[in-house]
């Protein structure tokens, strides 16, 4: 248990959405983040926010091209980072929400 809890995975991702990380992609991100047991944070420069909170994500004001780091700590950190990175790397929210 101690070993899995200490699993930390980080990945640097660029925001691809031309509108930036606005509320809709932010909502998709936070909903997905909440599906994981791991603690999820987004790092932007000096700032570090809770990836499970839409309000926190909105405080980043991340526009297209912004480089963000996703950091997950916990048993499902690997998968969490994998799936969450995809959301930031998708250009359109409609692409994200059309899946069943």
């Amino acid at each position: 248990m101690a070993a899995s809890e200490s699993t930390k995975v980080t990945r640097s991702v660029e925001v691809k959405n031309p509108q930036g990380l606005h509320l809709r992609p932010g909502e998709v991100f936070s909903r997905k983040a909440n599906e994981f047991e791991s603690n999820i944070e987004i790092i932007s420069g000096e700032r570090r926010v809770d990836g499970k909170s839409l309000l926190d994500i909105a405080t980043l004001g991340a526009s297209q091209g912004t480089q963000l780091e996703i950091e997950a700590r916990g048993p499902d950190a690997e998968l969490a980072v994998e799936e969450l990175a995809k959301i930031l790397e998708t250009k359109s929210v409609d692409e994200l929400t059309k899946e069943p």
Binding site: L21, H22, L23, L55, A58, L60, Q64
Partner: protein, 158 residues
């Protein structure tokens, strides 16, 4: 971006009478028309656009706050207003809580950066409990405007 850069002071509504989601959007958009921030001829199409955006997912972002918004060609710069509901409104928020604080934003279609920066400012201030509490307790538009100015001067965010 500061509140004073996009909030129309004369469109602030400290005591919203609307009790439902659509009515709040109408009341606040009408306030922007009355303040001269958007043309009366654009009222209905603006309301429709904001409502349509809400159908894609509520802008009730939690902690009793909602940010109804749209892009609309009738404005050439970001305009917005603030409304407070004492009773609270069922806005189908993510956390299921009633919404008391509303920030309504209308931005030109080609300026996603301004919208993001307004959202960034609003959400940063709203993480501060003192700011939220004072805003909810505000009785007049002047009180709210003063509070926004204090926030602009970094009175709340460390």
């Amino acid at each position: 971006m500061k509140f004073s850069d996009f909030v129309t002071s004369t469109a602030i509504r400290p005591n919203l009478s609307a009790a439902g989601k659509d009515d709040v959007i109408r009341e606040m958009t009408t306030a922007l028309v009355e303040a001269g921030a958007i043309a009366e001829s654009e009222l209905e199409s603006t309301i429709k656009a904001i409502t349509k955006r809400e159908e894609l997912g509520s802008t009730g972002i939690g902690r009793g706050v909602a940010v109804p918004h749209t892009k609309h060609p009738s404005v050439d710069r970001l305009v917005g207003t603030v409304g407070v509901s004492i009773e609270g409104v069922d806005f189908k928020s993510l956390d299921g809580e009633k919404v008391h604080l509303f920030f309504l934003l209308i931005s030109p279609p080609d300026r996603p950066g301004d919208h993001l920066r307004a959202l960034e400012n609003i959400s940063r201030q709203l993480r501060d409990d003192t700011f939220c509490r004072f805003l909810k307790q505000s009785k007049t538009a002047e009180d709210i405007w003063q509070l926004l100015e204090e926030a602009d001067n970094n009175q709340f965010v460390s």
